[in-house]
Symmetry: C2
Subunit: 700 residues, 2 copies
C-alpha cells in the first residue's frame, strides 16, 4: 500500500541512508591519502590513542547515567506518567548522538596527519583532505539524525499503529537522550580541550617561552587530543542534538497546528531530506587553485554553502505548496526567514570577531595599555555584540509567526509552527555548514603535527591558512548553532504547553502564563540564572583542570633533565590522563543540574513556573552564549592580528596582553558558550518528559 505518505517517509529514510553513504564515500576518499613520515604517523597515533581512551572512559561514565535515567523513566512509565516508548527513545537518542561524535572523532584523528602530508604537496590538496574529513562528520550527523527520527516514526506508525498526534508526542521525548548525551560530550570535551590548551599555553608560551605545539611541551599531545574530543566529538553530539531537536519539535507543532495532519508532521523531515541532497551537491563545489589565497579558500567554502542554501530556498517552495496547499504558503516564508536569519547572525558574528573589521582591530589596540584593558574591551565587545543577533532573532520570530498565519488568535498554533519551521530552515544546510565547521580542528591538528614532526615551515604556513579560515567558518557555524537553539527552545516551550494541556488536569495548570503571575516571574528569574550558573561551573572546571596541568607541566620541566634542550622526551600520557580524569569528574555536576532543576522547579512552582523558567533560560542563555562566544572569538583573532605583526608583533608586551585575553576567551567560546546552547534545549526536553509528574504532584 504505497500511498503518498509512505512515499514521503521512504524518501526521508532514503535521504538519511544516502547521507550516511556519502559519509562513507568521503571516509574512503580521506583514507586513500598517505599519512606521511614515520614521525607523523607516530604523533597521529598518540593523539588517536589519547582521544580514544578519553571517549571510552567518557562513554562508560555516561552509560551509568543513561542506565539510571532509563530506570527512572521505566518506573515513571510503570506509574503511567510516560508511555513505554520514552525510555527506549531516550536511549536511542543518546546512542546516536554519542555515535555521531565518535565517528567524527575517528575520522578527524585519522585525517590530521593526512592533511599535514597533503599540505606538503599543496594547499588545495590539504583543503580537500580536511574538508572531506569535515564532510564525514557533517553527513554522519544529519544522516544518523534523520535515520533515528524516521525509524522511530515507521516503528510507531506501522508496528504499534499509533495515532499521528501520539507519534508526535512520543517522538518529542527522543530529544532528551540526544540532549543529555550532547551536554556531557560538550561539557566534558570542552573542559578537556580548554584545560589542555590553557595549561599548555600558560607554561609553554608564557613561562618557558617556547612556541605553540612545540614537542618539548608535555601538554602538547593533550592539547591536540582536546581539539578532537572537544571541537569534534563534542560538536558532533551537540549538532546532532540541535538538528534532531528542531525537526521533532517542528513536527509536533505541525501536528498540533493542522489537527493531526501527517503532512504537517512530514514537512520538517522533508525539509531536512532536501537539505541533505542540497548539501551533498554543495560539497562538490568546494575546491580551489593551488596558489590560493585566504580569500580564495573562503570563497571556495562559501560557494558550497551558498549553493546549498539556494537549492533549499528554491525547493522548499513547491514542497510547502505541495504538502500543505497554497493557503499555507506563509510557512515557506517562515522557513526562508530562518535560513536568512542564520546567515545574518553568522555575518554579525564575523563582523564582531574577525580582524578585518573594526571591533577586533580596536580590541587589539587595547593591548597597548595591558592585559586589563584588553579584558575589559573584550567583555564589552562581546556584550555589545548581542544586539544584532537579538534583533535578527526578534524580527525572524515575529515575521515567522505572523506570516505563518498567527495574526488572529485562532491561528496562534500556526504561528508557533512557523517559528519552529524557521529553526528547521536555519539548520537545513547543516550537512555542509558542519563540514566547513568540522574541518577547522582537523587543520589545527595538522598544523600541530607539522610543527612537532619538524616539517618544512611552508607546510605549517599552509595548515595555518586552513586553520585561520576554520576560525571564520567556526564563527559562522556558531551563529547557526545559537540562532537555531533559541528558535528551537521557543518551539519546545510551545510544545511543552501543548503537552501539558493534553494531560488530564494540565490545562488549568497552564492557564495563567501571564507575566503578572508570580510563579511565572519567579520561574523567569530562576531560569535566567541557570545559564549563569552553568557558565560558572564549566569555567571554574576549566580553571581547576588547567591549574593541575600547569603544575604537572612545571613538574616535568623541573624533574625531567634534558627536556628543554630537546634531549629527553616529556611524559605526554601523564597530561592526557590528567585532563581525562579532571574533565570527566567535572562534567557531571553541570549536567545533573540541568536535569534536576527543571523537575524541582516544576514540583515547587508548577507548570506555569516551568514555562517561566524555560523563557528565562532561553533569553539569558542566548545572550550569554552570544556574548561569550564573540568575546572569545575576538580575543583569539586579536591575538592572531598582533602575531601577524601589528602592535609590536609576536613576543611584545602587547602580545603577552593579548595572550591573556585569548586564554580567558578559550573557556568562554569553547566550553561555556556552546554548552549553553544545549542547556536551554535540554531544560525543555526534561520538562516535557517529566510533564505528567509535575502536573500531578506540583505544589502550585
Amino acid at each position: 500500500m504505497p500511498n503518498f505518505e509512505s512515499i514521503l517517509f521512504i524518501f526521508i529514510l532514503a535521504s538519511s541512508v544516502f547521507a550516511l553513504l556519502f559519509a562513507l564515500f568521503s571516509t574512503r576518499k580521506v583514507l586513500r591519502f598517505q599519512e606521511g613520515t614515520h614521525m607523523m604517523k607516530h604523533i597521529s597515533a598518540s593523539i588517536r590513542k589519547g582521544a580514544n581512551a578519553y571517549l571510552k572512559r567518557q562513554y562508560s561514565i555516561v552509560s551509568i547515567f543513561f542506565i539510571c535515567m532509563f530506570l527512572i523513566l521505566i518506573c515513571m512509565a510503570a506509574f503511567g506518567l510516560l508511555t513505554w516508548f520514552v525510555p527506549f527513545a531516550f536511549l536511542t537518542g543518546g546512542f546516536f548522538s554519542g555515535l555521531s561524535g565518535f565517528i567524527g572523532m575517528r575520522i578527524a584523528t585519522a585525517s590530521n596527519s593526512r592533511t599535514a602530508n597533503a599540505c606538503c604537496e599543496g594547499l588545495n590538496r590539504g583543503l580537500r583532505v580536511a574538508f572531506s574529513a569535515g564532510s564525514v562528520m557533517g553527513f554522519t550527523v544529519v544522516g544518523l539524525g534523520l535515520l533515528d527520527i524516521s525509524l522511530w516514526f515507521l516503528l510507531l506508525k506501522f508496528v504499534f499503529k499509533l495515532e499521528v498526534s501520539a507519534i508526535a508526542s512520543a517522538m518529542l521525548t527522543f530529544g532528551m537522550g540526544a540532549s543529555s548525551m550532547a551536554l556531557f560530550a560538550r561539557v566534558g570535551g570542552g573542559i578537556f580541550t580548554k584545560a589542555a590548551d590553557v595549561g599548555a599555553d600558560l607554561v609553554g608560551k608564557v613561562e618557558a617561552g617556547i612556541p605553540e605545539d612545540d614537542p618539548r611541551n608535555p601538554a602538547v599531545i593533550a592539547d591536540n587530543v582536546g581539539d578532537n574530543v572537544g571541537d569534534v566529538a563534542g560538536m558532533g553530539a551537540d549538532l546532532y542534538e540541535s538538528y534532531v531537536g528542531s525537526i521533532i519539535s517542528a513536527s509536533a507543532l505541525g501536528v498540533a497546528a493542522f489537527g493531526g495532519d501527517i503532512k504537517a508532521m512530514a514537512l520538517p523531515m522533508m525539509m531536512a531530506a532536501i537539505g541533505i541532497i542540497a548539501s551533498i551537491l554543495g560539497t562538490f563545489l568546494v575546491r580551489t587553485k593551488e596558489n590560493a589565497t585566504q580569500k580564495n579558500l573562503l570563497r571556495a567554502l562559501s560557494r558550497g554553502t551558498n549553493f546549498s542554501a539556494a537549492i533549499i530556498a528554491i525547493a522548499a517552495l513547491p514542497l510547502v505548496w505541495g504538502l500543505l496547499g497554497r493557503e499555507n504558503i506563509g510557512l515557506y516564508f517562515a522557513v526562508l526567514a530562518g535560513l536568512i536569519a542564520g546567515v545574518l547572525i553568522g555575518q554579525s558574528t564575523e563582523y564582531f570577531t574577525s580582524d578585518t573589521y573594526r571591533p577586533t582591530k580596536n580590541l587589539a589596540a587595547n593591548s597597548e595599555t595591558g592585559s586589563a584593558t584588553i579584558i575589559i574591551g573584550g567583555i564589552s565587545l562581546g556584550m555589545l555584540s548581542t544586539v544584532l543577533p537579538i534583533l535578527i532573532i526578534s524580527v525572524c520570530v515575529l515575521f515567522a509567526y505572523f506570516i505563518a498565519g498567527g495574526i488572529s488568535d485562532t491561528n496562534a498554533s500556526m504561528g508557533i509552527y512557523g517559528i519552529a519551521l524557521a529553526a528547521v530552515g536555519m539548520l537545513s544546510t547543516l550537512g555542509i555548514t558542519l563540514a566547513t565547521d568540522a574541518y577547522g580542528p582537523v587543520a589545527d591538528n595538522a598544523g600541530g603535527i607539522a610543527e612537532m614532526a619538524g616539517l618544512d615551515p611552508e607546510v605549517r604556513r599552509r595548515t595555518d591558512a586552513l586553520d585561520a579560515l576554520g576560525n571564520t567558518t567556526a564563527a559562522t557555524g556558531k551563529g547557526f548553532a545559537i540562532g537555531s537553539a533559541a528558535l528551537t527552545a521557543l518551539a519546545l516551550m510551545a510544545s511543552y504547553v501543548d503537552k501539558v494541556s493534553g494531560i488530564e488536569g494540565g490545562a488549568e495548570k497552564i492557564a495563567h502564563l501571564d507575566l503578572m503571575n508570580p510563579t511565572v516571574l519567579i520561574g523567569l528569574f530562576i531560569g535566567a540564572c541557570l545559564p549563569f550558573v552553568f557558565a560558572a561551573l564549566t569555567m571554574s572546571s576549566v580553571g581547576k583542570a588547567a591549574q593541575s596541568i600547569v603544575l604537572e607541566v612545571r613538574r616535568q620541566f623541573r624533574e625531567i633533565t634534558g627536556l628543554m634542550e630537546g634531549k629527553a622526551d616529556p611524559d605526554y600520557a601523564a597530561c592526557v590522563d590528567l585532563c581525562t580524569k579532571s574533565s570527566l569528574r567535572e562534567m557531571i555536576l553541570p549536567t545533573v543540574v540541568a536535569i534536576v532543576v527543571p523537575v524541582l522547579v516544576g514540583l515547587v512552582l508548577g507548570c506555569s513556573g516551568v514555562v517561566g523558567m524555560l523563557a528565562g533560560a532561553t533569553v539569558s542563555g542566548f545572550l550569554l552564549a552570544v556574548f561569550m562566544s564573540n568575546s572569545g572569538g575576538a580575543w583569539d583573532n586579536a591575538k592572531k592580528y598582533i602575531e601577524a605583526g601589528q602592535h609590536g608583533g609576536k613576543g611584545s608586551k602587547q602580545h603577552k596582553a593579548a595572550v591573556v585575553g585569548d586564554t580567558v576567551g578559550d573557556p568562554f567560546k569553547d566550553t561555556a558558550g556552546p554548552s549553553i546552547n544545549i542547556l536551554i534545549k535540554l531544560l525543555s526536553m526534561v520538562s516535557i518528559v517529566f510533564a505528567a509528574l509535575v502536573v500531578h504532584f506540583s505544589i502550585f
Copy 2:
C-alpha cells in the same frame, strides 16, 4: 480640619524635615573638626575643586537634557497624553536627586582631610568624623526623598484637590526625573572614577612601580576626585532614586489594591518616616574603643543598623494593623520579608566577596597561575554568586505575594502591593545603611591625603582599617540596592499594567501578557539584552577614558623632568580635566538608550511588548548587576588579601596578576553594576510616562 489623614501626612512631612535637620546637625559636627596641616588643606582643596568643577559641568549638560525632556513632556501634556503635573514632577525629581548627590559630595570633600587629621589622634575619632559625613549623605537622601513626595502629595491633594487614585498616578511619574538624573550621575561619575583609578594604577603601580596614592602620580588627584563624584555623588543620586521609586510605586499599588483608600497610600510613606526615626536612633550606637580592631569597628556599625532594623520590625506591626486593620496583617509580613531578604542578600554578597571566606581565598590562589586564571576564576565566582540572591528574591517575592493575600486571583493586586511593600521594607533603614556605606569613600580619600601629605604611616594604617571596613559595608549596601531594585522594578511593572488598563483603549492592549504571545517574547529578548548593552557601553567608556589617562600620565612622566625624583610637581589638573571631559561625553549615549528604547519598543511591539521588555530587563539586569558587583568585589579583596602577605605578597608575580583582576573588576563593580540597578527602574518609569502615547500609536 486636622483629621486622621492630615495628621499622617504632617507626621511624614515632619520626619523628612527631621532627617534634614539631623543631616545639618551632622554637618556641623564634622565641620568642628580641624582640617590638619597646610599640605592637607591644600590637597583637600584640590580634590574639592576638581569635584566641584566636574559636578558643575555635569549639571550643566544634564540641564540641557532636562530642558529637552521637559519640553517633550509639555508637548505631550498639551496633546492630552499626560497630566500637566508630570513635566514639573519630572523636574523636581531630577533636581532633588541631583541635590542629594551634590550635598553628599560637598560634605565628603570637606571631611576627607578632617578624617585623616582625626585619625592622627585615634581610630574612634576618625570613625566618628567619617561616619558623620556618611550620615549627612544618608539623611539628606531620605529627607529630600520623603520631602519631595510629601510636598507633591499635599499640593495635589489640598491645592489641586485631586482624587487619591489620580494623585497616585501622577506621583508615579516623579520617578522618571529622579531616575534619569541618577543614571547620569552614576554613569558619568562611575566612568570618571574608574577611568582615573584604572589609569592611575596601570601606569603608576604596574609600569612605574610607585605605590598607590603617590603624589608623583599625575592621576592621583583625579583618582580622589573620582571617589567623590562617583562613589559619593553618583551613589547619592542613585539611592535617592531607589528610595523614592520604591515608595511611590508601593503607594500607587496600595491605592489600586484598596480601591482608593488613602491609608494604603500612606502606609509606605509612614514606613519610610518610621525608618528615618529608627535610623537616627541607630546612629548614636555607632562608636568604638580607641584601640579597636577591624572586628570592633564592624560590630559598631552593625550594632547601629541592626538596632534600626529591629525598631522598624517592631514598629511596622502596629502601623499596618492601625492603618489597614487586622485582616491585612499579612502586609506586615511582606514588609518583614523585604527587610530580611535585604540582610540575606547582603550576607551572600559578603560571603562571595570577603577574603575571610573560601570563594575569595580560592580566587586569590588562582593568581598562582597568572592573570588569565584569576580573571576566569573571578568571572565564574561572580556568575555563581547569582544563585543565592536569585533564590532569596524568589522566596521573598512568592512569600510577600501570597502572605499579602494574593493566593486567589481576586487578590492579585494585594499580592503585588505586598511585593512593593517588601521593597519599601528593604529600603526603610536606608538612612543608616547609606551612612555606613557613604563613609567608605571618605575614609578612602582620607587615606589618599595621609599618603600624599606624608603623614605618619600609623595614620595610613588607621585610614586603611576604616577603608577596608568600607568595602564590607559597601558590599552590604550593594545587596540592598540590587535587591530593592529588583523588587521595585517588579512593582513598577505592575504599576505600568495598572496605568495602561486605566487608559482608554488600554485594557485590550494589555490583555495578552502570556509567554506564548510573540510580542511578549520578543520584548523579553530585547529587554534582557538592554543590561548587556548598557554594561558594554559603560565599560568601553571606562576603557576609552582610562586609555586617554594612561597616555597623559605617560606623557607627563616623559616630559616633566624631575617628576619621578619628586623634584617637580605633576600637572594634576590636566588629568582631572581629561576625566571630566571624557566621562561627560560618554555618559550621554547610555542614558539616551535607556530613555529611547522603551518608547520605541512600545511603539513597535505595543504594551505587551513593553511588559515583556520590563520583565526581561529586570531579570537579566538583576543577574548582571549581582554578577558584576560580586566579581569586582572579590577581585578587589583577593588583591588586598595578597597584599596582606598571602601568595607572595605585594610586588610578587601573583600580586601583579591580582592587580589585573582588580583593574578589570573596577568598571564591573563601580560603573556597570550599579548603573544597571537604575536602568531597570528607569525603563519602567519611562514606560509609565509614555504609556498613553504607546496605547494610542503603537503598531501592535
